[in-house]
């Protein structure tokens, strides 16, 4: 069983991503509605993947991922950004923080499944 943390401030987007992940099978999904909540959930179990939005109040996705990638305990967890922002600069910013992938919304299920499976080495 793999553990995945989904971070997004929209509850509908969260549950949509969750159900897409659960469709893959063998994945335990945890949801956080903000960067703060993600920081609280992260230490609770060894996560295999973090899927996060970028534009969120308080702590944005970049700030969260920078924290993850600079932390000895978490730095090997792959991170996937999901954002509506298609701007080249933003994508580069995300990737240079060490993200595994940057998916722009809207996206199709197959594309998403493919990237997730690769990140989880399934």
């Amino acid at each position: 069983m793999k553990s995945v943390l989904v971070v997004d401030d929209s509850s509908t987007t969260r549950s949509l991503i969750t159900s897409m992940l659960e469709d893959i099978g063998g994945i335990d999904v945890f949801e956080a509605s903000s960067g703060f909540e993600a920081l609280k959930i992260l230490p609770r179990r060894p996560f295999d993947l973090v899927v996060t939005d970028i534009n969120m109040p308080d702590i944005n996705g970049f700030e969260l991922v920078s924290f993850v990638k600079n932390n000895e305990k978490y730095k090997n967890i792959p991170v996937i950004f999901i954002s509506t922002e298609r701007n080249e600069g933003e994508i580069n910013k995300g990737m240079s923080l060490g993200a595994f992938a940057y998916i722009t919304k809207p996206f199709n299920t197959e594309e998403f499944h493919g990237i997730v499976k690769k990140a989880l080495s399934l």
Binding site: D9, N60, L64, F67
Partner: protein
């Protein structure tokens, strides 16, 4: 898939509502955080609708998002016109969402999108961006800032604010309360630009945060305000930037933020805490006065008595001053409320297709900030009614010989220690026949009951009575007049209606100027004492038993040539009346809605802090709270509005039907 379109509709509607509220707030004054929350709402809606393949919503919210992005990044100035434009497009978005929800054909949005795009182009005032290089901000910070955070950082630099990096370490499992406290502290010092979680150099079980703050305060002030947290100065405050504004800082909306150098914004909750403390002190002062009196009674006026007397006088005066200052700090002018209401009127009149002039009086009248926030919704409701049901359509007005455009008048004026807010329209007036018919139909009033005009007006406040059979787009949103009245009553106020057929309707809301400490009259009924808010008392007078008359089953007394209805407080609470021959009448209410409360004795006038009453007494009619008076004695506070209702509806309206 478990996530359905229904979830989308629910969240989309929530977003629209919160965006509309934020836009209303922005009309009251610019705030970058509020503007950003509008952007974020539309941004989320775009992403969300994309995931559900709702192209119309995605495209429209995408275009709107670009406009909002221009606004929040300062490329475009936020004026009232822009806000109205955004409002109208949010309405279109809202319409499409309901079309999706009703599974109807969705409107074509391509024209709307073109309109937004040309609006963006027409008002393009792109300002020169400044570079963040050379400010010594570490790349580890710059690399994680969102566009918006970057823009706010630049704005703070442009304004000559100091940049500070505050580092704080918290326990990993319990960091939220500590961080929130620090954040709200920092928000009082300036703008919290970004929050960055860090783990380097932090021990296990802990988490660190770097908080980027832009502030017009100097380093020493910041350091003294943040307690134990570590402050790193990125760039010093540049006072010079303030005296000679560069061309970059000439945007008026942002310059206004700069003026806060010798102004501190304070959370109203903090003021409340201070007021609470002062209230406790007022009680203590009461005790000191009482001790002085007791001392005088027991040992006479020895020098100790005089000292106590003197000190209690000083306390009395100084506390009164302190209270006055504090209350004044909470006051805001009505212009703040009125600007928001004017926008609401414009919006609703546009939606209803009616042309309406707005007249405003008394914008300088002041009201407690908290009260101002509380009465905004009831006022919006009254305005909706005026626009929708009050003002007639243009052709009908012309036919009636009225001027083509309707008028809505908003007026605020102080009246003693109360404030009156008037919402007036020159429309059709209340239809008393229709209201009465409805009330009889719904068994709220027995048939063949003769009611006075005023009493019929008051029926519109009864839950479940709506005169409009079909809910209209503008006002049929489920908030009834009963909610309006409930709200005003809960704030210690009254609603009074005047209406003339063909001429219009006026709602007068009378409210206390502030919610905090009130003066109360302590009365005695049988062996019990009660407090009556002095703001509600018009006068008191002595009543001889034989002067009381009975007309139509009601007790009344002649007062200055008019009949004043009486209500025995003892009857209301089923208390045993003392076998006294004479009473006092405490007159409450205004104008034609006045009654005299019959009480056994008037005891004292004192300052009290009204506290809510416990669950067990909550459902007793006529009680508004409890208050402590000297000697730790608790008295119950009469709910004056409720008492009046009791008096006016007692005999005539079928109580049982109302309560059912």
């Amino acid at each position: 898939m478990k996530t359905s379109k229904k979830d989308f509709i629910v969240e989309a509607e929530e977003i629209i509502e919160s965006v509309n509220n934020s836009l209303l707030d922005l009309q009251g004054g610019f705030n970058p955080e509020t503007l950003n929350s509008v952007f974020r709402g539309i941004h989320t809606l775009k992403g969300l609708s994309g995931l559900f393949g709702l192209k119309g919503i995605t495209d429209l919210s995408h275009t709107l998002e670009s406009l909002l992005d221009d606004l929040r990044l300062g490329r475009l100035e936020l004026t009232d016109d822009v806000i109205n434009f955004v409002f109208s497009n949010i309405d279109i978005l809202k319409n499409i969402i309901s079309q999706v929800s009703e599974e109807k054909q969705v409107d074509d949005v391509s024209d709307t999108i073109k309109e937004i795009e040309s609006f963006r182009k027409a008002s393009d005032t792109k300002s020169k961006e400044i570079s963040l290089e050379g400010f010594g901000i570490s790349p580890s910070i710059l690399n994680v800032l969102s566009n918006y955070e970057e823009h706010r950082l630049k704005t703070n630099i442009k304004e000559g604010n100091g940049l500070y990096l505050i580092k704080a370490i918290f326990n990993l499992t319990e960091f939220a309360p500590g961080l929130e406290a620090l954040n709200s502290n920092l928000k009082n010092l300036g703008e919290l630009i970004a929050t960055l979680p860090i783990s380097e150099g932090i021990s296990e079980g802990s988490i660190g945060f770097k908080l980027l703050l832009g502030s017009p305060m100097n380093t020493d002030d910041i350091k003294s305000k943040v307690g134990t947290a570590d402050v790193e100065v990125i760039s010093q405050l540049k006072k010079a930037a303030e005296s000679k504004p560069s061309p970059l800082t000439s945007r008026p909306r942002e310059v206004s933020l700069k003026s806060s150098t010798n102004t501190v914004r304070v959370d109203i909750e903090k003021l409340d805490t201070i007021l609470d403390t002062v209230s406790e002190l007022v009680l203590a002062k009461g005790a000191v006065i009482r001790i002085g009196q007791e001392l005088a009674e027991s040992v006479g006026f020895i020098s100790l008595t005089l000292d106590v007397h003197k000190i209690s006088q000083t306390l009395d005066r100084k506390l009164a001053e302190l209270q006055e200052y504090l209350l004044d700090l909470r006051m805001v002018p009505f212009s703040q409320i009125f600007t928001r209401l004017v926008q609401v009127i414009r919006r609703y009149s546009r939606e209803a297709g009616k042309e309406i002039d707005i007249e405003i009086y008394g914008e300088d009248t002041k009201i407690d900030k908290q009260l101002a926030e509380e009465i905004i919704d009831p006022l919006i409701h009254l305005i909706r009614n005026a626009v929708d049901h009050g003002i007639e359509p243009k052709d009908k007005r012309l036919m009636l010989g009225k001027k083509e455009r309707g008028t809505v008048t908003l007026k605020a004026f102080p009246e003693g220690n109360k404030v009156v807010i008037m919402v007036q329209d020159d429309g059709a007036g209340l239809d008393t026949d229709k209201i009465l018919r409805k009330a009889i139909e719904r068994q709220m009033v027995p048939e063949n009951q003769m009611l006075e005009r005023k009493e019929i007006f008051d029926l519109i406040f009864v839950p479940g009575l709506s005169t409009k059979t079909e809910a209209s787009e503008v006002s049929g949103r489920g908030v009834g007049m009963d909610i309006v009245k409930e709200k005003i009553t809960s704030l210690g106020g009254f609603v009074d209606i005047e209406s003339e057929p063909g001429k219009g309707t006026t709602f007068n809301l009378t409210l206390p100027i502030t919610l905090a400490i009130i003066k109360a009259l302590i009365i005695q009924v049988a062996s019990d004492r009660f407090a009556v808010p002095l703001t509600s008392v018009a006068e008191t007078f002595f009543v001889e038993r034989e002067k009381i008359q009975t007309i139509e089953g009601r007790e009344v007394i002649e007062r200055r040539g008019e009949m004043l209805p009486l209500l025995r407080v003892a009857d209301v609470f089923k208390l045993k009346e003392s076998p006294t021959d004479d009473y006092f009448a405490v007159v409450i209410g205004f104008g034609s809605r006045r009654i005299g409360l019959l009480v056994d004795n008037l005891l004292d006038q004192t300052e009290v802090v009204i506290r809510p009453i416990g669950e067990c007494l909550k459902n007793i009619r006529g009680l508004g709270g409890a208050a402590e008076i000297g000697r730790h004695e608790i008295v119950l506070v009469l709910d004056v509005e409720n008492m009046m209702e009791e008096a006016f509806t007692r005999k005539k309206v079928n109580r049982a039907a109302l309560d059912a």
